[in-house]
């Protein structure tokens, strides 16, 4: 009995907006708010119509699949040209930049195209990778972990890099000296804790990590854990609440 009544109630609240009201809302409310309103409508539809729900589930699965597909390994290239070329190809394909030892930085142009000149550097190890803003996830990291002489790795603002990924970086412990995790939305102090494997690390950037609960304290603890490493970002006083007398 309860379900139909709730349905009526919700339906009436939606009807009450009417077309005029919705237009009025869109003029006054900030984009964030209107997005939420659209969200509520979608939610209402998904709650009451199986096909809407199924469609939304399908779209979500499609999104996930897209990320997975972007992160698949290029086994063919790896077999034919070795791990360095495969790793570099992967990063360039994702829109990042690569530096072979003794060479210039390489990067794709604005339209995602890049020259395949680097295929001749089969024996030259990759020493730096800048994967800022790439959609690398746990699986995609396979390609980077094969680069055994990697010294500098930048994973700035990577939306799919999380604590699980950081726990795999111990495979690069022999060479990695610089690591930047600035702006990764899913990295928290739990993942930072397993960077203790990287004893050669000289520079670590952990600024602007929204998932870290106590940035100041975390920075101190990371510095304790990696005594030879310069830790950037997250001022030690960040996250502390100012007392009332200091605020005034």
């Amino acid at each position: 009995m309860a379900a139909p009544r709730a349905f009526l109630h919700l339906a009436s609240s939606i009807w009450k907006w009417g077309p005029r009201d919705i237009r009025g809302l869109s003029r006054t409310v900030a984009p964030e708010g209107s997005w939420r309103k659209g969200r509520a409508l979608l939610q209402f539809l998904a709650d009451h119509f199986y096909d809407v729900k199924a469609l939304r589930e399908y779209l979500f699965r499609k999104q996930v699949l897209k990320v997975h597909q972007k992160n698949r390994s290029f086994t063919h290239i790896k077999e034919q040209y070795g791990p360095y070329i495969a790793g570099a190809y992967f990063v360039l394909k994702q829109g990042g930049a690569v530096k072979f030892q003794g060479q210039e930085w390489m990067q794709s142009n604005g339209r995602g195209r890049f020259s395949l000149d680097f295929f001749k550097f089969q024996a030259v190890p990759v020493e730096a990778v800048d994967a800022s803003g790439c959609a690398i996830n746990y699986q995609g990291l396979d390609n980077l972990l094969a680069l055994k002489e990697l010294q500098s790795l930048s994973l700035q603002r990577c939306p799919h890099v999380d604590d699980w990924c950081l726990s795999r970086l111990h495979q690069l412990a022999g060479s990695l000296q610089e690591l930047s995790l600035a702006g990764c939305p899913q990295v928290s102090e739990r993942g930072l804790a397993c960077l203790h494997h990287l004893q050669k690390l000289r520079r670590l950037d952990i600024s602007d990590l929204p998932a870290v609960s106590n940035p100041g304290l975390t920075r101190i603890l990371v510095e304790e854990m990696l005594p030879n490493c310069e830790v950037l970002g997250a001022d030690w006083a960040q996250g502390l609440k100012l007392g009332p007398e200091e605020q005034s």
Binding site: M1, A2, R39, L42, Q43, A46, K53, R56, E57, F60, V64, Y138, D163, W164, L166, S167, R168, H170, E189, R190, G191, L192, A193, C194, H196, H197, S213, N214, L217, T218, L221, V222, E224, M225
Partner: protein
């Protein structure tokens, strides 16, 4: 006529369906009339199960294909995989019955939440590897449209197991098996251990094994709530009640060798509602026993173990509740951010909790003194002397910084302890043909739940294990006397 009958019925409405609550005495005659009228209405009105006089929305459905006893993480995981592996959407009706939806006594939420691959049995390692994959992709498996993503709070810091001289050889063998199965585990000498973790006292340690990936601890509550949310969105029904009785039929059959066996089949499950005498018989095809520490009682209700000892009929499900303590202490000078989940040679374990130098830990009583000092599992009271006498000395010996610590709080939880060989029971019972088990994991049920749920669902739907072969964990091993034991390193 009909209207009068309806009014009469409505007048006696509070009587409800609670046949048990019916008062005897002077109203006997009246009762007879009411049931007469009810029958008449039922024959007149269309639709068999439709009963307009009483509100039965609080009762479980009268039919359900699968009834899962126990709404902990194992039961929910079985429900999830049943719904996910079904061929057509809505093909299977699943009902989860649990008597404690606050989870105040559930082993799931009272556990420490660790996950490791450092077992000695290949099956356990495979289960754990599958589960870790599930947990890593939890937001893809358990995604619900419009609900926020789950934050599992996974700490990927690994397990550090320490072995004494005696256990070193076993540990080496175990690590070999673990590596074969694909776990990332490394061995460390006391020297390496001292370099890596300077706060450890390596006295009496001959070898250590350390998990590099996929090991650590997570928030059990998050997994439980995620499963519950997803399963609910998939159409599984929940019921707050207790299973009090199984109605079953039995068939006498003869084996090829002329022995007589009695096969039982459960047809109905009586679900007693919480805090009332009202009960609802639920017709079902399959019962899954995932009642954790209390699954032994559920098995007994189904008649398992009621027979002459030494026969298959007389073989009980050897699962019983065991009380285990967990202590939370504060130690300002304690080990830092890199602290893994340490398990000492004595069986004492601890892990870091949060950033404020707090630590969680405890010790399993049996590993210290077998048989003698098992605490009374009747309540969940904590024995603080146990920490003073049994846990702290070992802790302080292993980590000198723990000499000065302060216990902040403590709690107790139940293990679904398998007294036979401390491993899980999975799959159907050989005689009660439609009761399936997912229980008895003796402390590692939480970390293996996603994989076990899948195995049981495959057994129910396909009749055999597909992803991971768990046939060593079948019930028949109790009768055959084949122990499947973890080889501990202590």
């Amino acid at each position: 006529m009909l209207r009068r009958a309806l009014r009469l019925g409505v007048g006696r409405c509070p009587l409800g369906r609670g046949l048990g609550t019916r008062r005897g005495g002077s109203t006997l005659d009246w009762d007879g009339k009411v049931s007469d009228i009810k029958k008449k209405i039922q024959s007149v009105l269309p639709g068999g199960a439709w009963n307009p006089l009483y509100d039965t929305s609080h009762l479980p459905p009268e039919h359900s294909d699968v009834v899962i006893v126990g709404g902990g993480v194992l039961g929910l995981s079985v429900a999830y995989w049943l719904k996910r592996l079904e061929k057509r959407r809505g093909a299977i009706q699943v009902l989860v019955v649990d008597r404690d939806y606050t989870y105040s006594h559930a082993s799931t939420v009272l556990s420490v939440g660790g996950i490791r691959q450092q077992f000695s049995l290949p099956e356990n390692i495979q289960l754990s590897l599958f589960s870790v994959d599930f947990l890593r992709n939890i937001n893809e498996y358990l995604a619900v449209v419009d609900d926020p993503p789950l934050d599992l709070q996974f700490n990927p810091l690994g397990y550090l197991l320490l072995a004494s001289e005696k256990g070193a050889a076993i540990m080496e063998n175990n690590v070999k098996v673990q590596r074969q199965e694909g776990a990332k585990v490394c061995l460390m000498s006391p020297e390496q251990l001292r370099n890596k973790f300077p706060w450890i006292n390596t006295e009496g340690v001959a070898l250590a094994s350390y998990g590099l990936e996929n090991e650590g601890w997570f928030d059990p509550w998050c997994l439980l709530q995620g499963l519950r949310r997803k399963v609910q969105s998939m159409g599984v029904r929940f019921c707050h009640g207790e299973v009090t009785r199984f109605i079953s039929s039995s068939d006498r059959m003869e084996t090829a060798s002329g022995e007589e066996v009695t096969l039982k089949r459960i047809h109905e499950v009586h679900v007693k509602m919480d805090r009332s005498l009202e009960y609802q018989p639920v017709e079902c095809a399959i019962v899954i026993n995932a009642a954790g520490a209390w699954s032994g009682q559920i098995a007994e209700l189904a008649g398992i173990g009621k027979g002459p000892p030494g026969t298959l009929q007389g073989t009980k499900l050897p699962v019983e509740p065991r009380k285990r303590y967990v202590y939370l202490w504060h130690c300002p000078q304690g080990p830092g951010l890199e602290t893994p989940f340490v398990t000492d040679t004595s069986g004492t374990y601890f892990r870091r909790e949060g950033l404020g130098n707090n630590y969680l830990g405890g010790c399993s009583p049996t590993e210290l003194s077998p048989q003698e000092e098992e605490p009374d599992p009747g309540n969940l009271e904590v024995d603080h002397d146990f920490f003073q006498d049994k846990v702290w000395p070992h802790l302080a010996q292993r980590v000198p910084a723990f000499e000065s610590l302060k216990v902040r709080s403590a709690w107790a939880g139940y293990y679904d302890y398998n007294t036979f060989d401390q491993n899980g029971v999975v799959g159907p019972h050989p005689l009660v043909v439609n009761m399936y088990f997912a229980t008895g994991f003796s402390g590692h049920g939480l970390q293996q739940a996603p994989a076990v749920g899948r195995a049981v669902a495959e057994m129910v739907l396909e009749g055999h294990f597909q992803t991971i072969n768990l046939s060593p964990f079948l019930f028949s091993r109790f009768y055959l006397g084949e122990k499947v034991e973890e080889r501990n390193i202590i």
